[in-house]
Assembly symmetry: C2
Homo-oligomer: 252 residues x 2
DNA sequence: TGCGCGTTTTGATCCAGATCAAGGCGAGCG
DNA sequence: CGCTCGCCTTGATCTGGATCAAAACGCGCA
């Protein structure tokens, strides 16, 4: 997409833009140009939050867009009696809380310890208004999120428990390489085992993502293991043993 | 939103912009300014399609954005074995197939007879590129669609059959006033019964929307009726008898 | 007017996944 | 250490919704 610009080094050196922000800018998928990154960095605050933090509970975060620099965050919708549905899972680097989106009834909670960058919403929106290209990139991103949500709708509405788990594993594969949870960037080290991943979620959270109970998640994992499609070295570390069969178990 | 501009009459009279297009422009929620409407009308083709038409099957529609002028359309995702999940229900006036969205694995099928306006995708995108404000409005619309999809995720992932049906009815209420299916615009006639609606979908389609079978849809409708929350004059025409209890049956 | 077909209702039965229950395992910690 | 507290597994049972089956209801059409 964007040229790997030599301006980066210079940017990192200037004023308020730290190296991490540069990484974020790159990692977020060329969302920001160096100039946009600079403008946004100028009005932002960096924080570290422990696992389990509800970000929307912190008052001044409610009015911020949040750049996720490190860690994993779950976005859920809740029913009054406590039932919840995880609506999307965000891993660094990503952006939480789109500019221009009305506040909405969601909970945003750190799954792991996380480093975040808080951008006051109105300031972010002001930057967007000045940068036509940025709005276009945000627009495209919203459309991608929509497409992801639709895929999850199909999973929740029409797939069996086994198919949901297989779908979930394929979705996670590649996203969470082992021991990289909490790391800032995926280095492209060829030594990495592409078929092994560390799940960032508990069984209960996977259930909240897939519309199942944690017992069913556990049992279906056990079944997929028995059938030789996957294996576990411990509860969180999975290896995909037979991608082809796993894919067919996901029901297309 | 937009000022009710006196330019309309003039626009309607000029060249290629017909009165219906003006209505579409207004109805779509101020998506287009008169000038944008004119530009888009200049490159579009109007068609009428019978109920059941698969729009994405028509080759040149695959590369179009579709303005829905009259009728109801369902957007679904399919599994190879025929299971399907309706991902969104569009009623006139609305826009199908967002500019810039990658083609994606969806089926778009007319539920009722429909009048549509086909805008070649690249031409639409060209217009958008020239109109900063239009892209912003499309961006906001994508965020709304995303929010709707998230609400449906909660419904599919965590609600019981009864809650799903109650949620569905509240969602439809107001959207489909009786005998207005297929009409072009909702006139604000105070005589209308605000609590009665004509369902545009069959029981099977409602099932495909809510992740249920048509038998379960039928039975839960019967149960809600027995409990006095709703009533049917025929299979398609529902009246909400007790909105408060229906809302609580929807599980918030 | 009666036929045929898609839709809807309702009944009977089945089963995938929920619920209830009991241990086990591992990590932090006094 | 040994304890506690989350997490995870596994078993037994229950149940909401699926599946299978049949009949009734329109509605367009000959």
């Amino acid at each position: 997409m964007k040229q790997p610009d030599p301006e980066d080094a210079a940017v990192a050196g200037t004023s308020s833009l730290c190296p991490t922000c540069v990484e974020w800018r790159c990692g977020v998928g060329s969302l920001l140009t160096p100039d946009e990154a600079r403008q946004i960095a100028a009005v932002s605050v960096r924080r570290q939050v422990p696992a389990g933090t509800e970000l929307m509970a912190t008052p001044n975060l409610r009015d911020s867009c949040i750049a996720l620099l490190r860690g994993v965050v779950k976005v859920s919708r809740l029913l009054t009696d406590g039932r919840q549905q995880i609506v999307s899972l965000k891993s660094a680097p990503d952006l939480l809380g789109a500019p221009f989106a009305p506040p909405g009834e969601v909970s945003v909670r750190a799954v792991t310890e996380a480093d975040i960058y808080c951008v006051p919403r109105h300031a972010f929106e002001a930057v967007v208004r000045q940068n036509r290209g940025l709005e276009h990139r945000l627009h495209l991103r919203a459309l991608e999120d929509l497409s992801e949500a639709e895929a999850l709708l199909l999973t929740l509405g029409r797939k069996t428990a086994r198919e949901r788990l297989a779908t979930f594993l394929l979705d996670m594969a590649g996203r969470f390489r082992p021991a990289e949870i909490g790391k800032r960037c995926d280095t492209l080290d060829p030594a990495y085992d592409h078929d092994t991943l560390d799940l960032p979620l508990t069984r209960a959270e996977i259930g909240d993502f897939l519309g199942l109970t944690f017992e069913t998640v556990s049992r279906q994992f056990a079944a997929l293991r028995r059938d030789g499609l996957i294996d576990f070295s411990d509860a969180r570390r999975v290896s995909v043993k037979d991608r082809k069969r796993l894919r067919s178990a996901a029901g297309t």
